[in-house]
Amino acid sequence: MIDFELTETQRAVRDFLHWVAEHEIRPVALQADEEGDVPLELLRRLKELGVTLDTLPGGGASGGDGEAPEHQRNRLAVLAAEELAWGDAAVAISLPGAGLGGPPVQLMGTPEQKERFLGIFRDPEPRWGAYALTEPEAGSDVAAIRTTCRKEGDHWVLNGTKLFITNGARASWNVVFATIDPALGRAGHRVFVVERGTPGFTVGRIMEKMGLRASETAELIFDECRVPAENLLGGEERYRQGEGFRTAMQTFDGTRPMVAAMAVGIGRAAYEYTRDRLREELTLSRPIPRYGVIAERLSWMERELHAARLLVWQAASMADQRIPNSKEASMAKAYAGTVATRVCAAAVELLGAVGLRHDRWVEKWFRDIKVFDIFEGTGQVQRLVVARRLFEPYGLRV
């Protein structure tokens, strides 16, 4: 069944979040970018309004999302992601909540763990969870992580470094992927929830980035870090068949469409700004007609973003119907990341010098967008995932 009409609920969510994006997020976004931090005030206010990451991704990770009908959760999530990123992507990924850390807890946690780790988000104060997989020497190659864990009595001892962890420093806890023995590859992976203040866990550098500057990207250091045994997600039983790695991967099926939706949101912001600005300009008389080029570039932007959005909606809709969607999720991510980057580049160009100015939005969107082709699996990795789905049925290995 193909139905492009949004339901009443979907429209309401979209319209509400658009309002939030326009009236709450936009007014602080440029300043937040400049200062390299999202003001806590805004995040508190958003939490009051019920806008947290938990109302979005791969499904209400920390509970509290009772209203969202189960069968349209992913579609709601991508609509929300697009609107919030239209407001500001750095703010969107800094929203309070379990974030990317939610799905692994949800997927693997025991009922007791879910309550312990996700329960804290019921608190009116903003809190964060984070997802710490990437290491200095292991990004795309997840199986190559080198952070080790060894059991000592009723604790696990972690050693290693995680890099590029979104909200990792401010998080109440991080979902940390480690290995009992690098030689075991995927089968050796264990997934822990490491709480802030755990002895041996420190925050290293906060990275200075090209864009998404208001978002915190942290280095996390584990030095003989002693994690209580009950923080091993799901308990030891669960790890017999490489469950840790599978969880790392499964998380992505839900989150990739969201990240792709954010890319569409940024691209759309750049497109709309350019269109409105040029519409004003076109009314001024100019000796050299330029409508032809501008009309073509603008309609190209709209076309590409629209195609990307439809891929995103399809991937989300499949997830809602519990149809395996790895291929579609990766197609959406690869496509959206690429075209949104081009759209933002074109927006800068179309506006001339104004597009480069630091106090105007488009230069920021141009800086923000590039990472959407990098994190949550690079464009190349997405293409690999798609290729595997295409060729493996024929017995070909990619």
Binding site: G139, S140, M210, I288, V348, A353, K370, I374
Partner: protein, 391 residues
């Protein structure tokens, strides 16, 4: 990457000298200048010491009289490490060009030697808030008064606008359209000139980009360049000659990013091998290299034509087609190459520890200034078309 055009001995020496200077006095500091958005005076000092400013000036005025090809080689070499540093040279030459192509003997004698030594810095102020691509639509006015003119108007996005000692600028002395414009020299500190906002930008962040406000600024008659009404022509003759240098900046940025990506791809390992072994990476590198080589051919060819056709101060024809191609193509290549370089570095490409994100931010500007790439395409198409003036 090797320069495969045949350079003469002198060019080889100059390029080697510039490369060393770039490595020692620019590369180690470029990231910090960018971060602080501070104009890098040490670069100006280094160029003065090395005599680089002199390259583009005739020997009669204390210059070296290096060819246009040598000039682009130098700009390219500098842009490989830092585009902001590269344009310090390019802007000096741009600012001097109106005087070179149309200045009087007295003007040349007064300004060119000090600009060649770098004692004075120059800027060229053409763009206005309402007239960027549309040069004929400039609105700044120069009203004739006893002994000269009074200038009123606003110039925007002027490289080195706030630090230049000598400003070559354009204003309307006559009626609307191209024929009403004249060119002037305004010296630093002239009453009635004020520096407005300094732009903060996506890239070239350490470069000084300023707004200049003329408020009833007196310019003596002897500071008019060429005849009244010749301004548009002087602006075009200037841009005819300066475009290869912008193309060279773009080329250098692309080469810098390519070199960084190439090195990284051979060091970074994933899935048990260097990422350079993946076809996805190899294809990106191959496309980058093809673009760079093709751009290089165009840039050197354009410079060569400017050299041949550009003696004397007249308008260029054949050279313009190739300068426009070089500028447009090289800057589009630079954009794609730098985006892909960030991609090859993955997460590391996005953070400030590596230079590729800076290259990507800097590349964008080369598609825009000194005539946007849309304007270059129009120039190229028209150079082939045989159309009567349109409606």
């Amino acid at each position: 990457m090797q320069v495969d055009l045949k350079l003469d001995e002198e060019q080889r020496q100059i390029v080697a000298m510039v490369r060393e200077l770039a490595q020692e006095r620019i590369a180690p500091f470029a990231a910090e200048w960018d971060e602080r958005e501070e104009f890098p005076w040490p670069v100006v000092e280094a160029y003065r010491e090395a005599g680089l400013f002199a390259l583009a000036f005739p020997e009669t005025y204390g210059g070296v009289g290096a060819s246009a090809v040598t000039q682009v080689l130098v700009v390219e070499e500098l842009a490989k490490v830092d585009a902001t540093a590269a344009i310090i040279l390019a802007v000096q030459w741009l600012g001097a060009l109106p005087i070179l192509v149309a200045g009087s003997e007295a003007q040349k004698a007064r300004y060119l030697p000090k600009l060649a030594s770098g004692e004075w810095l120059a800027a060229m102020a053409l763009t206005e808030p309402e007239a960027g691509s549309d040069v004929a639509g400039l609105q700044a006015r120069a009203v004739r008064v006893d002994g000269g003119y009074r200038l009123t108007g606003q110039k925007k996005f002027i490289s080195h606008g706030a630090i230049a000692d000598v400003l070559t600028t354009f204003a309307r002395t006559g009626g609307p359209g191209a024929k009403g414009l004249s060119a002037f020299i305004v010296e630093k500190g002239a009453p009635g000139v004020r520096v407005g906002r300094i732009e903060r930008k996506l890239g070239l962040r350490a470069s000084n980009t300023a707004e200049i406000l003329f408020d009833d600024c007196f310019v003596p008659e002897r500071h008019r360049i060429g005849e009244e009404g010749e301004g548009f022509s002087i602006a075009m003759r200037t841009l005819d000659r300066s475009r290869p240098a912008v193309a060279a900046q773009a080329l250098g940025i692309a080469e810098g990013a390519f070199a960084a990506a190439l090195q990284y791809a051979q060091e970074r390992r994933a899935f048990g091998q260097e990422i350079a072994r993946f076809q996805a990476i190899q294809f990106m590198l191959a496309d980058m290299a093809m673009g760079i080589e093709a751009a290089r051919g165009l840039v050197y060819r354009a410079a060569h034509l400017v050299e041949e056709e550009g003696r004397g101060g007249g308008r260029l024809t054949t050279a313009n087609r190739y300068s426009a191609m070089a500028k447009c193509f090289a800057s589009d290549v630079a954009m794609q190459v730098t985006i892909d370089a960030v991609q090859i570095l993955g997460g590391y490409g996005y953070i400030r520890d590596f230079p590729v994100e800076r290259f990507m931010r800097d590349a964008k500007i080369t598609q825009i200034y000194e005539g946007t790439n849309q304007i270059q395409r129009i120039i190229i198409a028209r150079s082939y078309l045989d159309l009567a003036p349109g409606p």
